[in-house]
């Protein structure tokens, strides 16, 4: 069965790119455009992996992670955060909130995304 990925990102073009790439790779990808929507979809669909943008309207990435930590059902879902700037301060905080890996929006390339996703699945199984 294809692994389920929920993509939570407010920037349309990044969303489209990621979705396209991951779908091509054979993953089952759903999308959400803000933190609120993302959490709802998470509770519904129980994904195998979350790709989470940090800066979003309504609810941002850090808030989402905080809520996930408090929710038993969501605590253990692996998270790859999508950081805008790659500032160490941001990455640090994300890691402390449970992110297992990160992508820097302004620097990554499609291949790197695929590799990180694969890596995540090989760790968590």
């Amino acid at each position: 069965m294809a692994k389920k990925i929920i993509l939570i990102e407010d920037e349309e073009i990044i969303l489209n790119l990621l979705q396209k790439k991951l779908t091509l790779e054979g993953y089952d990808v759903s999308v959400a455009r803000d933190g609120e929507d993302g959490l709802n979809k998470m509770r519904e669909a129980k994904p195998d992996l979350i790709l989470l943008d940090i800066i979003m309207p309504k609810k941002g990435g850090f808030e989402v992670m905080e809520e996930m930590q408090k929710d038993k059902a969501l605590k253990n879902i692996p998270i790859i955060v999508i950081s805008n700037s790659g500032q160490p301060v941001e990455i640090d905080r994300a890691q402390k909130l449970g992110a297992t890996d990160w992508l820097i929006k302004t620097e990554f390339d499609p291949q790197e995304v695929i590799e990180k996703v694969k890596k995540q699945f090989s760790i968590s199984g």
Binding site: P88, T106, D109, P110
Partner: protein, 515 residues
Amino acid sequence: MATEKEEEKISTLLEDLTSLESYARDLFSFLPLPVCLVSSVGIILEVNPAFENITGYNIEEIIGKPIEDILIKKEFEELSKETLEKGFVRAKELNILTKEKKEIPTSVSTILRKSEEGEVIGYFVGLFDLSDIKKTEKDLKNAQIALLNMLEDVEEARGRAEEEKNKTVATINNFTDGLLVFDPDNKLSLINPQAEKIFDIKQRDVIKRSIQELKTFPTLEPLALILLREAKDILRKEIQLKENLVIEVSSVPILRGEERLGNLIILHDITREKLIEKMKTEFVSISAHQLRTPLSAIKWTIKMFLDGDLGEITSEQRDFLGKTYRSNEKMINLINSLLDVTRIEEGRYLYKPVPTEIEPICQFVIKSYEEEVKRKNITVSFKKTEKRLPKIIMDVEKIKLAIQNLLDNAIRYTPSGGNVTIALRHGKKEVEFSIKDSGVGVPKEQQMRIFTRFFRGANVMRMDTEGSGLGLYIVKNIIEAHGGRVWFESEEGKGTTFYFTLPTKEEFAGFLKGF
């Protein structure tokens, strides 16, 4: 018939008379004052030698002459009248006429001579030569006039000086910059209202005090510390006095020829300039950030095209897309460099310095350029040290970036077939990194600007129009933020060697303390 006694008496009297006559005559002759005896109608009867002298007339010439010859008629008449009326004239100033027709100012006195019966016989006229006195008077008068003129001139000069001084004082008092003047003993001799305002002090509390004493005033302490510390004659430093007050302090010696009259301290408010600089940096930072994501999205999209993820593309399409991709990459690099620059300017640059070995970092960077180097047919060699180098406290990402910028430059500006050598050396308290290329070099007249923002040498601009001019600026900032030094040697057409040093762990700790 006279008796003997009577004859004796007469003889004695005659003797007395003779001697009296003789006495009078001697006296008359001796008298240095000109005197003459004049008849009641003004005929000169007798004169003394002094009179002869002053008038120039001989005694024979003058006796029998009217005194009008010597005195002017009108004046004589007045003189005569007054003498006859009052019996004397005392010190009347009249001019007499000499034989040579020269006029001499004199003081004339007369005294009437009456007979026993009261008949006017004539009068004595005594003269006192006033020429000298008159001359002295005239000289004094001239001197007085001269002095008054001088006084006037001095007054005028003083007035002008006062005016100048007033102008200067007004200028100083209204000057928009704060001004302080210290005399050669480093005591405060002047402080203007603006300076009072800046430091929130009053002139009377600080005037005449030494810099040491001024240090005890809390608002003055930062300034006093700078003045005490800096031995240089001319200095310019910025100090932040309050939350929203940044002052540029300039010190200039006041010289008169070779003599040093003191020190002038100018306090210029640059709060606004600093604010504008900050706003500019923020603007660049925000703009650059905003640009990053769209650029990234473009990069991705094109990559997906090139990877065939969006369907097959023709080779012509591939060609154009490839060029667009590279163009976009340049933009991304520029934006990243700009962001680095803004971060440097905002001071938020070194993140988490940790003790690290520099060798692996060099290896990593060299490896990342493998393809590029092969493509350009450049030989890159790495000279390691025999012994293990001590660890250096560094922000790994930043040092990686610095080495990357240097290697990038070396490769970029070395023509095909050239070589680049990276070497590490263990100095006394530091580690030295050098990178030598056989590239185009830096023209001598442009060498001092090499580390400035946006600067690109004329020779490399012609060769390769891509560089941002920020690479070396960033390298310099990174290295110096670590307490190191960076420099280079270059010869146009031969090559360039860049060096930098980084302090070892112990040294870095000392460097940090300096903050």
